[in-house]
């Protein structure tokens, strides 16, 4: 199974994400933001954390309009898998692949610590290694992680079982404690917490490992 990790100027979790995919058994290729095509046969695209384009204008806004993002969008529209973490989640909302937006944290501070999450659904390739309702500990590191969407959209996400993760103890003011959401076809996941930073004991936690293992398992079988 093959993964591509997109690199923007200012990405800083791209290599961590590549390592997590590789450890799970994926073949990984790095893709530059100016590239105009994804490598042939890519199953999943990872959009990493960081501060693409210095967070200028809005977090993820410039990246969402980069040449590679048109390809990522086309990949998602063909039914391809896309995982956006932290800045990657911001990019996915800016492209419109996921609904809502990420605002400045309610407490205004940049927050970098491990937080408890509650798995919202096990019905996706990303979360099938967890039980719905399971508690896991995953690091967050963001200034703009305060998820917002209209009340109707939040109700729809809940009705359609698309809330992948909720915060156990809301750190940033996110509506409905939302930490991660799925697209309508359940193939695009955006989340603020960093599972790739919790995928190796040497990094201090392994609760994120099941995500990469289940992605690799599901896509290898497909």
């Amino acid at each position: 199974m093959r993964a591509a990790v997109v690199v923007f100027p200012g990405s800083n979790c791209d290599r961590d994400l590549a390592v997590a995919f590789r450890e799970a058994g994926c073949q990984v290729e790095m893709v530059w933001h100016k590239d105009t095509s994804l490598p042939e046969g890519i199953d999943i695209v990872g959009i990493p954390g960081g501060f693409s384009f210095g967070d200028y204008l809005r977090c993820g806004a410039i990246a969402a309009n980069s040449p590679i993002c048109a390809e990522v969008k086309a990949h998602a529209e063909r039914g391809g898998f896309v995982l956006g973490i932290c800045n990657g989640f911001q990019v996915l909302t800016e492209t419109g692949l996921l609904p809502g937006a990420l605002l400045r944290n309610a407490g205004l501070k940049y927050i970098c610590r491990t937080v408890p999450l509650i798995v919202g659904t096990s019905d996706s390739v990303y979360t099938s290694g967890y039980e719905a309702g399971q508690g896991i500990d995953i690091p967050i590191a963001h200034h703009d992680g305060n998820y917002t969407a209209s009340n109707d959209m939040v109700a729809q996400l809940a009705d359609e079982d698309r809330i992948a993760f909720r915060y156990g103890d809301n750190p940033n003011g996110s509506t409905g404690d939302i930490a991660g959401i799925l697209s309508a076809n359940r193939r695009v996941l955006g989340m603020m917490p960093h599972p790739e930073r919790a995928a190796d004991e040497r990094l201090g936690g392994t609760d994120g490992k099941a995500m990469f293992a289940s992605i690799a398992g599901a896509l290898a079988a497909a």
């Binding site: 204008l57 309009n65 809502g100 937006a101 605002l103 944290n105 309610a106 407490g107 305060n146 003011g173």
Partner: protein, 76 residues
């Protein structure tokens, strides 16, 4: 010619930065500041003949995120 684009968070979207500014003004002794909303102004130098419609398209595509922000265009 120039265009000036004002981008603001929509009414009803919580503005934590504006709230912090309001709090700080209160701390400086300015009473009676009931609400602060912080936005941004973007100035564009444009080739003559650029239409307001094309500036509107710039706003929709990039300058504002219309999920959370509204914008207003001044052409001059």
């Amino acid at each position: 010619m120039k265009a000036r684009v004002h981008v603001m968070l929509k009414d009803g979207v919580l503005d934590p930065q504006g709230e912090a500014v309001r709090h700080a003004l209160g701390g400086l002794g300015f009473d009676g500041v009931e609400n602060v909303r912080q936005g941004k102004v973007i100035e564009l130098d444009l080739a003559d003949g650029t239409t307001e419609d094309s500036v509107r398209e710039m706003c929709e595509k990039l300058l504002a995120n219309t999920v959370i922000e509204s914008y207003r265009i001044e052409m001059s």
